[in-house]
Symmetry: C2
Subunit: 154 residues, 2 copies
DNA sequence: CTTAGTGCAAACCGTTTGCAAATGC
DNA sequence: GCATTTGCAAACGGTTTGCACTAAG
């Protein structure tokens, strides 16, 4: 349980920042939310519990949660920033369905190794990487195949 | 030579669009420019030859050039859209230096094959992908190592 | 002469910032 | 009390759009 909260509070103390109700609430909501939440989604969820919290605070607090090592920033097709859990959720890459916006996480040690090889060849020191495969997930492929139940006039 | 221009003009005719001086100029500038140009850079280059051309026209025309299969959209760290040549410039991925914003293009058939394998495993149909390795290029690593020539007071 | 293209200014959208009021320590 | 945080509104930066005007076919 509250492990993340402890990490967050330690991070705040360590950097001389204050523990506030808003920050705790935003962390709670983020922890309870699976997957890849956008700032807007977080905002909506937070608002349900405390309508007085502002958009700005979500942005600022997510940066802190990220600094504490609890969240990781992810960018997909649209410009929006999304966050996924970083704590006990090791690195992986994504298959992104452009139909339903669904996400499948994958991890390939082979690809990771090949990346290192390539970097070595160019004397390039990798700090981070982003590997995204865009396409159609199996569900959406089937949906596309299924005959549309619309009238001839549709 | 003018192969791209021909392709572009054909594309315009085929889609019932008009050939204009601005479009030709923007294509010319793009063709002559190596690497990964931002819209802003193109705008500056185009302005030199015809200061009356507007920003909007660059945006709109680059979309057309892309549709014609001559340009490919690339996104890096900053939000800006950049374009690289698509015609006779096969698919590749990028090493991106976060110090100097330099780019190294790479292509790994092994990684491409592994991607296919992963997609197959999930019954996912890949349409496109983006694979970017961020880090420090060899030049910037050396620059960082070099003793700074600043005074003790610096 | 009709339809599409242009340039400008304004709108847009996600994100950031300046600021006075509020709050943690 | 002092410094930090908050929420708001305004600013921002890249991109898009509405519109009267111009030009291609």
């Amino acid at each position: 349980m509250g492990e993340e909260k402890e990490i967050f509070h330690n991070h705040l103390k360590k950097t001389g920042l204050k523990k506030t109700d808003q920050r705790d609430l935003i962390l709670d909501v983020f922890i309870e939310t699976e997957g890849h939440v956008s700032v807007e989604e977080l905002y909506d969820l937070v608002k349900r519990r405390d309508p007085s919290v502002g958009f700005t605070t979500i942005y600022r607090t997510m940066k802190l949660i990220q600094d504490a090592g609890l969240a990781r920033e992810v960018r997909f097709i649209d410009g929006r920033t999304r966050y996924e859990h970083d704590y006990k959720h090791p690195h992986h890459d994504h298959l992104i369905c452009t139909e339903c916006n669904g996400l499948i996480e994958f991890f390939s040690p082979e690809i990771e190794a090949l990346q290192e090889e390539i970097a070595e060849k160019y004397n390039f020191k990798i700090v981070d990487h982003s590997h995204r495969l865009f396409g159609i997930c199996s569900v959406c492929q089937h949906n596309a195949l299924a005959p549309k139940k619309v009238s001839a006039r549709g």
